[in-house]
Amino acid sequence: MAANSNGRKKHSVTKGKWGIIFLLPFAVAFLAFQLYPLAYTIYNSFFENYRDGLTQVGPNWVGLKNYKEAIFEADLLKYAGNTMIMWVIGFIPQILVSLLLASWFANNRLRIRGASFFKTIIYMPNLIMASAFSMLFFALFSKVGPVNGLLQSLHIIDKPFVFLENIAATRILIGFMNFMMWFGNTTILLMAGIMGIDTALFEAAEVDGAKPGQVFRQITLPILRPILLYVALTSMIGGIQMFDVPQILSGGTGGPSDHTTTLIMKLNNHLYSKNYGMGGALSVLLLVITSILSLIVFKFMVKKED
């Protein structure tokens, strides 16, 4: 084609070609690794398709049977509840601490020393693999672990406390780990939001005699609301996908007594027999939930631009 054309025309055609070439890697990767698996998962969810030992069962078309089982028989609500409770336990301190840190870091008057050092430090836990983090906590809080050793030598308790056999303790530990991992990330997002606020507003408020608390409540928070909502929703979507931390902390059992089993841990169980049907159905249900949440975010972002 290019050989036949000449002059200016050739020039414009080449440019168009390059645009497509630059887009190609993304398009190919998206089609191969996202769109195709997505479509295949949905397709699979309508089939009975698993292994019995080394024998393959199916795929047999079963319609919506997998969905019916996933919703009504598999206690989906219970596991959604577990997931939400552990997410909330982590999210509340996460948003509070992040707000506090972000407003400190963004406040030029405080002149915090080594601010960039601390900004790096608080982000660090996010760089550790969640599974490594979880293994660490598993060892720390085991019956013969250092935490029990410390509490005993300080005479706070006289018998070892089995954290991982206690429902509340295990959930709090999981929430705490998620908090540790994500508060740095949230702080940076909120900081960006706060720094985007016109400083003239703060100055005006101060001239009018507003106290720092009032400035925070009356100016920072209302203007920050879009960012806060964004943080809450993305964190919630991340929360729905909670897997590695509880999986490893409970040794894959979701214990104590099924109280830390999350939705994705259920999904993972179906892989034991390569149950693509049930796994697919559960994935699609999760996709629906996260899509609804994403839509809310999207709608809200568009509104902001208006």
Binding site: Y50, R51, D52, G53, L54, T55, V57, A74, D75, A139, S142, K143, V144, G145, V162, E165, I167, G251, G252, T253, G255, P256, S257, D258, H259, K266, N269, H270, L271, Y272, S273, K274, N275, M278
Partner: protein, 451 residues
Amino acid sequence: MKRLVKLMSLALVLTMIVGMVSACGSKKDDNVAEGKLIVIRCWNDEFAKRMRDHLPDYKVKNKDNALEGGTYKGYTIKFIQVDNKDNAYQNALDEALGKQSSKKGNELLDMFLSEADYAAKYVQADATADVKGVVGLTDADLANQYQYTKDAVTDDKGVLKGVSWQACPGGLIYNREIAKAVLGSDDPAEVQKAVADWDTFTATAQKMKEAGYAMLSGYDDTYRVFSNNVTTKWVVDGKINVDANIMKWVEQTKEFTEKGYNQGSTLWAAEWEKGFYKDGGVFCYFGPAWLIDFCMKCDQAGSVGIDGGWGITEGPMGFFWGGTWMHAATGTDNADIVKEIMLAMTCNETILKDIVTKDNDFANHKPAMEAMVNSDYSSKILGGMNPLGIYCNGASKIKLDCITTYDQGCNEKFQAAMHDYFNGNFATYEEAYAKFEKDIYEIYPALKPKN
């Protein structure tokens, strides 16, 4: 300038492509002649070490890491190790066996290993080759092996599909110090009197508690003793079935936990291993030879075993635990060499005796083991005792006729669910059972009642 940029980008793209191609190339073991590669799949280095230490003519590549393989009679041995955790080993193995028919030459899987809990899954499958018909071992070769090690890997049609170098009868492994302090003697015969049946075992547990010791480390210690003495299978007519013996374990462990006879640990956890050390305060563990040598940390300072602080006796019931079998993969291009390895590692009396004396394992050769009962063989860890008499006695009694392809999941999920019953997070057995049943339907959809 423009040309330079073009050249540079071309060079970059080329290096990238070359890198990718060479990465693929290194996987293909280019330097091994076609048909001269033996691929063995395993989950730990136990078998690789056994080959390194006992197989004549085998030249190991790296003495410190047996898994790097070596050469044997002109063939290159390559191990592919995948960890057992989260079923990863079996997933990878299933994948490889599934693709076996489309592979050829050096890509073919030749051998793989399995454990007692899931051996049945592979034995019933066509992907596992007939040891006699395909590999070529004869009844005469196998005559001295313990019958149960053959029964365990014989499929429904009576075809033998695997062989093992070990037999795994278990005993009650007790802490000699504690035995002296509480029972007044650490002599196996005397200790046996205190643990001869479950009633005296429980009475002794009470004595241990009064003296400030725990009879057992945790919930799972007696599990195998009961679960490997079952008379019914985990799955009967496609339905889950809990054997009466396993119910006995539930009742006993609930009682022991409530009365404080155990330390409330779970198998393989750090607190379970506490009793392997001198200040651990655990009287006994149940296990076969491999537990003592492979798991009880007897080479570590402060451990009970390093000074020969353990003793062994038969305990209330004979049982077995675990065991590793080797299988030939259907389609292997090197059946002859697989046969030689199997012959050497599981039928050769000299090698098997060597495994006993060097690794304190219990080998799968009945006459040799019985001859060694009265030999001067002794285990340092067991305070200079010769445990082979106890093992021999146990090995002849082992029955393995109640295995199913679902045993691994059933054992794991049942124990996990019951832990929450023992520690009180489930108020009743029924609640714990409901959790177990739900887990089983998830991991074995085939068992789910059809409605």
